[in-house]
């Protein structure tokens, strides 16, 4: 291998080393330290498992973990229920229309994520556009407020991550051989039975990929629960932020980060195995 070639390969590894591996080691070291509010930075290095123990014994953290997984899980299910029919319709559209429909799915990415979440605040606030409309139209004189509830978080996550669900499902459904459905019909399967016995099982790799692509980032999501969920909802990403910036407990915040990472390695490994398996099937 010649020198420029080596440089091309080395550059991204150097980048990952400097901006991922090094910070990760730093966080790992911090996580085993203890909190020392008088020092700057407020950490006493050492080897203590106290932070990790607290994460799994303190009710607050356990509740935050559970609610993160629950919120991410429910939102993922929401994305799947909404995304599957969308992906199915796009895959069944005429080939000329598909790029336009896919473009519409991608369109939100043209605006900053943060701005789109702020827009939802404007929609869901007490005097937001939704409530103004409800009062103006007379549908409800005293509508409740969605902003600040768990519903708002679900709405935000489903909205923000829907494209990540639609795209892998679309890829799977688009390459589904139409003659398989004809064969099913020919053998006496009603359209819905054909869907359940042929389309659905053959799109499982797409379902798994889509769910993991939504679930993994949603568990650690911070911006959406912080801006839409208000103070009452507990999510682990928010806990991490609070420990770090509000309580200045760097070691505990680091321990949360490490646990989050370890928790997500499982689904990521599952995702990669699924990818490898679906590649095998194609070959």
């Amino acid at each position: 291998m010649n020198r420029p070639m080596r440089a091309v390969i080395a550059a991204p590894y150097a980048w990952l080393g400097a901006f991922f591996l090094l910070p990760f080691v730093l966080v790992l070291v911090l996580a085993f330290g203890t909190n020392d509010p008088d020092a700057a930075p407020p950490v006493a290095l050492g080897f203590s498992l106290e932070n990790f123990a607290r994460l799994f014994t303190d009710k607050l953290y356990v509740a935050a973990w559970l609610s993160s997984i629950r919120i991410a899980g429910v939102s993922t299910l929401g994305c799947l229920l909404l995304g599957y029919p969308m992906a199915y319709a796009i895959a069944r559209a005429t080939p000329a229309r598909r790029p336009v429909l896919l473009m519409l799915v991608m369109l939100p990415f043209w605006t900053s994520f943060l701005i789109r979440v702020y827009a939802w605040m404007g929609l869901l606030a007490e005097n937001g556009i939704l409530n103004q409309f409800l009062r103006w139209s007379g549908l409800s004189a005293h509508p409740g407020t969605i902003l600040g509830t768990e519903w708002a978080i679900h709405l935000g996550i489903v909205y923000a991550y829907l494209p990540f669900m639609v795209l892998p499902l679309y890829v799977m459904l688009e390459k589904l051989d139409a003659s398989l459905l004809e064969a099913a019909a020919d053998l006496g399967a009603k359209p819905f039975a054909a869907f359940l016995t042929v389309t659905l099982p053959l799109s499982v790799p797409g379902i798994v990929a889509g769910c993991l692509m939504v679930f993994i980032p949603a568990v650690g999501e911070f911006v959406i629960p912080d801006l839409l969920g208000g103070t009452r909802t507990l999510m682990i990403g928010k806990v991490l932020w609070d420990e770090f910036f509000t309580n200045s407990d760097w070691p505990l915040a680091s321990a949360v980060a490490i646990c989050l990472l370890v928790l997500l390695v499982g689904p990521i490994a599952l995702f990669q195995r699924q990818q490898a398996k679906s590649l095998e099937r194609v070959e």
Binding site: S179, A183, A184, A185, D186, L187, G188, T197, P201
Partner: protein, 332 residues
């Protein structure tokens, strides 16, 4: 036809403005092995798919066993189809693929298992029930597709190019196998094929299609010996088309022409010529002869005698002789 299983009346199917099938009338009798023969794009597959209910005709109607199939969806028609691509379900093993149609009918499990085992034995696939389609050879996949289409004992089995994906050796064996199954089960088969040899050797009757229309229907013997048009004469086998008068031709098969070194005395026509090419095929030889006044003609001889170099050689001056009743006069 008194006992027809399929009756097609004035069937037309267009894609946009282009007609794929136009004004087709056809009757197929119970127990026939009927072939739809034609080149690619002639409409034969569209016609088959219309019978299966996978295409909606723009005009005309299809009756199966006396029942008008207009508006009846594919899943409620008493026919099964073997797809050209086989369309086996990749996520199901052989047993599940073959049993699919019976499970959709809600048959009890023991019955499904028994009938699947029976049909797998029929197509000689015993012991492969647990394999996935990806683990089978091309020939085995073809038989799974056949078993899956046969298991419901349909009134009518539609086969779309059933042998096209097999290699030559396997194709010939499978051809006889299909005929054996059809006779043994007493079913009606409709086979779509582009291979005239396949159609001729399998079918009890066949229809030749061109540009969306049926140009001739008959037994293989009828079509070969009495083609109705230059198209059929040319499409089925090889024919010399000789112009009789303006707008009238004679279709003359190569094996009906006498090839001799001397002028034959007992034929009504004789022309002299020179052999320009010889294709030796072992059992027979095909000669291209440049004649005086008739252009290049094709003649074949059966190699009955065992000779050292063959009876004729290239560039030899020969005579060709035939009588009018050996050929078929054509108007179109």
């Amino acid at each position: 036809m008194t006992d027809s299983i399929v009756k097609i009346e004035g069937l037309t199917k267009r894609y946009g403005a282009v007609p794929a099938v136009e004004g087709v009338d056809l009757e197929i009798a119970r127990g026939e092995l009927f072939a739809l023969l034609g080149g690619s794009g002639c409409g034969k597959t569209t016609l088959l798919r219309a019978i299966a209910g996978l295409e909606t005709p723009d005009a005309g109607r299809i009756l199966i066993d006396g029942q008008d199939m207009t508006g009846v969806p594919a899943h409620r028609r008493p026919v099964n189809m073997m797809f050209q691509s086989y369309a086996l379900f990749p996520h199901m093993d052989v047993t599940a693929n073959v049993g699919y149609g019976l499970r959709r009918e809600g048959r009890p499990r023991p019955e499904v298992a028994r009938r699947v085992a029976e049909v797998l034995a029929l197509v000689r696939l015993e012991g492969l029930g647990a394999r996935k389609p990806a683990q089978l050879s091309g020939g085995q996949r073809q038989r799974v597709a056949l078993a899956r289409a046969l298991v419901k004992r349909p009134k009518l089995l539609l086969l779309d190019e059933p042998l096209a994906a097999l290699d030559r050796k396997l194709r010939e064996g499978t051809r006889f196998e299909l005929v054996r199954l059809q006779e043994q089960l007493g079913l009606t088969f409709v086979v779509v094929t582009h291979d005239q040899e396949e159609a001729m050797s399998m079918a009890t009757r066949l229809a030749v299609m061109n540009a969306g229309r049926i140009v001739q229907t008959g037994t293989p013997h009828d079509l070969y010996e009495r083609p109705a048009s230059r198209f059929v004469a040319d499409f089925i086998g090889v024919a010399n088309i000789l112009e009789l008068t303006a707008g009238r031709w004679l279709a003359l098969r190569p094996e009906k022409i006498r090839l001799a070194a001397e002028r034959p005395g007992d034929t009504t026509h004789a022309v002299a010529g020179r052999i320009v090419d010889i294709a030796y095929e072992g059992d027979r030889s095909l000669y291209r002869v440049a004649t005086e006044g008739r252009g290049t003609m094709l003649v074949s001889t059966t190699n009955v005698a065992r000779t050292r170099d063959g009876a004729f050689r290239r560039d030899q001056q020969v005579w060709l002789g035939w009588s009018d009743e050996q050929g078929q006069p054509l108007d179109e």
